[in-house]
């Protein structure tokens, strides 16, 4: 195994166990662990730098990336396009406060329960996948988008109707969490658990079955993979992730409005996984971070140029909001053209480059 060297060129494994680890070598595993520890320490050590604004950013990336990962399992790994992911996110966001206020189960347990409930709904709307695929399935998921959106506005007992639903703050068996900084740690733990779960799934039986269904469904079937089961199950797993993400969103904001989960939001989830990399677990996180930071970066950029010659030339004051939306659209288009495999692929290439640096041959 890798010794003291950073990225060994010859890495010889002596057991199958060493050959099936999540990370290629000890260095990349330790880097990730150090990265997570640094991230966890950041708000404590540098509270001035990592203020409420950054905590808010990180929390957003956290719950959105969990949902994006779910969509990636469905679209990227199983190859079934869904354009209704936001309503499953929304369902989780309503389900968790609903369970919490009706049963009194602590919020921290309501989050996974909301995931399970959303998975059940996802399985229901995934049933068409048993018979149809490709564009036709995409249209069927569009139906889920509209049906559930309508359901949100009508099921007042569940969602509060036009008034929306209020969610209790996160609580750990009596200990309530009110500040962003505390909530950040809750989200961090959920992100780590959910991403490890997905990574493990993809290196075991059912994850391989998903990819097999995507790559060649005829031979997957011949290999003994029950197509119907895995196509529908993928919707269930995907919705579970969406539900957990949505529940974290609900308890963070404290209030859930029925208007938030529209088709544009669904498309944004698709944008996240396309930019991050279809069929990549870590890509889901990268793409989400990109999509969260991009509007912020555009805002910062527009503030920087405000009043300058460029601003006068382009007359930006009137179109500053459009610029944000345009940037998201442009980012998706540019990624599709120049990096269709997403940020995850770019990251792998950077790693490969540094592995051989400075002798890149």
């Amino acid at each position: 195994m890798a010794g003291a060297t950073m990225r060994p060129c010859g890495d010889f494994r002596t057991s199958y166990r060493a050959d099936t680890t999540i990370f290629d070598d000890r260095f990349s595993r330790n880097s990730v662990i150090v990265g997570i520890v640094l991230l966890a320490l950041a708000p404590i050590v540098l509270p001035e730098v990592f203020d409420a604004y950054w905590m808010n950013m990180f929390i957003q990336i956290g719950y959105l990336s969990i949902a994006a990962l779910g969509l990636n399992i469905l679209v990227g790994f199983t190859g079934q396009i869904s354009i209704g992911h936001a309503v499953f996110f929304g369902f989780g966001a309503f389900a968790s406060p609903f369970i919490n206020s009706n049963t009194g189960i602590p919020v921290v347990l309501c989050v996974p329960l909301a995931g399970v409930m959303t998975a059940a709904v996802g399985l229901l709307f995934g049933v068409p996948a048993a018979r149809i695929k490709g564009l036709y399935l995409a249209i069927a998921t569009l139906a889920a988008q509209f049906i559930l959106e309508d359901f949100f506005s009508r099921a007042e007992g569940f969602t509060g109707g036009v008034h929306g639903a209020t969610a209790n703050p996160m609580s750990f068996f009596g200990y309530d969490i009110y500040t962003d900084r505390e909530y950040f740690y809750v989200v961090l733990v959920f992100v780590i658990v959910m991403f490890l779960g997905a990574t493990n799934m993809m290196r075991t039986r059912d994850g391989r079955a998903f990819v097999a269904v995507r790559d060649h469904y005829l031979s997957a079937e011949i290999m003994g993979v029950n197509l119907t089961k895995y196509r529908v199950m993928s919707f269930g797993v995907s919705s579970f992730y969406a539900g957990v993400g949505g529940a974290l969103y609900a308890h963070y904001l404290g209030f859930v409005s029925i208007e938030a989960f529209n088709i544009l939001f669904s498309i944004q989830f698709l944008g996240m996984i396309i930019i991050g990399g279809l069929g990549s677990v870590m890509g889901s996180l990268m793409g989400t971070a990109f999509m969260v930071f991009l509007p912020e970066a555009m805002d910062a950029l527009s503030r920087a140029v405000a009043g300058g010659w460029l601003d006068r030339a382009l007359n930006l004051q009137s179109g500053i909001n459009n610029l944000r939306e345009m940037a998201i659209g442009a980012a998706i288009v540019l990624f599709l053209i120049f990096e269709p495999d997403g940020l995850a692929h770019r990251w792998r290439q950077i790693k490969a480059y540094w592995k051989l640096y400075p002798f890149s041959y």
Partner: protein, 274 residues
């Protein structure tokens, strides 16, 4: 196990006389007005290496597709291990012990060779969407590693160690064929269906593949049904041969008998030769 070849490896020395493993009873298959198969019946015994030959469009692949479940016969029945599997899903047939390779490559292109072969273990693995994500707890890792060890034996056997981490879609044609065979072997099937395992290969690759097939049959104890166009290979390694022409069975028997059959000569060489 039927027989172990004496003399040269692979020289058929008598037909294995095991029990009937697979039987097709009056199988017909029609696509609209096109009759791909008409009343084809045959039996394959345990331990046999059974070849199906015939001119292009004779219905060989259709026959194999009926056995593996890709097509559903219009009439007739398919029996496997004494059980009627005519209406069974392909994935359920795999569970019963049916494995196959495809004429046109059908690997999972974006997966590594190793993962491709591990998909073949699907029915033997027991971890699921709950225990899989928990990996370290609940035994999924132990099970995966155990099967990995067995898959490595298949990799050794088919001599594809050097590409085990390569993405399947990037491999050369001959290697892909071998990976596909490895994937089917991973199912541990009792009956292996090989659809043109040597198509598009050079002589050396064909020799390798023929040796693998003989080993599968004799050492791994798999019954093999093979479609192949290379008559030399078919005559050398098959125990019995069935000839199809225009969807009908025109001959069946030992390789020499079949080749001497006047209707076979007619089907292959045209009217005058008969």
């Amino acid at each position: 196990m039927g027989n172990v070849a004496d003399g040269l490896p692979g020289a058929p020395s008598g037909v294995p006389q095991g029990d009937v493993l697979m039987e097709a009873v009056d199988v017909s298959l029609a696509f609209g007005g096109v009759r791909a198969l008409s009343q084809v019946s045959f039996q394959v015994r345990r331990g046999e290496l059974f070849s199906i030959i015939g001119p292009n469009g004779a219905g060989k692949t259709s026959m194999v597709n009926c056995i593996s479940g890709r097509y559903s016969p219009t009439e007739g029945r398919i029996l496997f291990k004494g059980r009627d599997i005519t209406r069974l899903r392909p994935s359920a047939r795999a569970e019963l012990g049916l494995g196959r390779t495809f004429q046109n490559l059908a690997l999972f292109g974006h997966m590594t060779v190793l993962d491709n072969i591990m998909v073949g273990r699907h029915n033997q693995l027991r971890n699921n969407f709950l225990t899989g994500p928990l990996y370290w707890f609940g035994g999924a890792r132990r099970e995966e590693l155990e099967h990995r060890r067995q898959v490595e034996e298949i990799i050794d056997f088919l001599e594809i160690q050097h590409v085990r981490k390569a993405v399947a879609g990037t491999l050369a044609y001959g290697l892909r064929k071998r990976v596909e065979l490895a994937r089917a072997v991973a199912l541990k099937p009792d009956l292996m269906l090989l659809d043109e395992p040597m198509a598009g290969m050079n002589l050396e690759e064909k020799e390798d593949m023929a040796r693998f097939i003989i080993d599968l049959n004799e050492e791994w104890g798999m019954t093999v049904i093979m479609i192949e166009h290379d008559m030399g290979v078919v005559m050398d390694i098959s125990h019995r041969v069935m000839v199809l022409d225009f969807g009908r069975k025109i001959a069946e028997g030992g390789p020499e008998d079949v080749m001497a059959h006047p209707r076979v000569r007619q089907a292959y060489l045209g009217e005058e030769a008969a």
